[in-house]
Symmetry: C2
Subunit: 109 residues, 2 copies
DNA sequence: TTTATATATTGCAATATTACGATTAAGTAA
DNA sequence: TTACTTAATCGTAATATTGCAATATATAAA
């Protein structure tokens, strides 16, 4: 069906999955890495940097913004995007907690 | 097109995205959490636990196995699944390194 | 061998995602 | 005003994902 049955899972499980899903595309990984690297506002040079069509990059930016990982502010004709540090930290904590599950007692197979 | 242009990105970016993508479904998050919780082999009770069809769970297990996050061994008629601790640690390191990018110098917008 | 149980695979329908070109919107410069 | 620049949105095609029923496979028990 292509439709995820979110009602079968806990809020936490759905949230982890949503965060991971947004990161689960190399273009969005590249955008985030570039924003971290530049460490300041960036706009349409992401299109040159990444090499996908302008409309495609715009769509990925929209998804990242929708998840709250980045924020954008209009600067004249261009738009300045950057990491939303507060939300990034929150997201990082959620993911880290999931990833940090103790593996040492795992005594099977 | 629905087709990701992986050739536009670095191996690292593609790898991060692939890992995140596998985690990007609540059923797979639930499976992983259950395997951690039980801390031992588990088989078809994942179907009862999660409440999706057997074939659906089997497919998700296949994807997790394909990414190397879990491994399974046949035990009679059932199959014992568990976290692949070595690969989990590797994966965790890759993701943590990505998530840990320094946010403090971010002075924009 | 037959039957039962557990898991994997196949085939399919519904929906989602990715990507792009074309267009629109909104600001700037002339 | 018009022309230009930048980014968002729309429409669309191609592909991917999700989920299930049905079937296949493989082992165990009778």
């Amino acid at each position: 069906m292509g439709l995820i049955k979110t009602e079968k899972f806990t809020n936490q499980q759905n949230e982890i999955a949503l965060i991971a899903k947004v990161i689960g595309h190399p273009a969005r990984v590249a955008i985030l890495q570039h924003l971290f690297k530049i460490n300041a506002c960036v706009c349409g040079d992401l299109v040159d940097e990444i090499g996908l069509a302008q409309s495609t990059i715009s769509q990925h930016l929209k998804e990242l913004k929708h998840m709250g990982l980045i924020k954008g502010s209009v600067e004249g004709t261009s738009v300045c995007y950057c990491i939303d540090t507060e939300n990034w930290s929150k997201m990082k904590q959620i993911m880290t907690q999931f990833l940090d599950q103790d593996v040492s007692n795992n005594t099977c197979c």
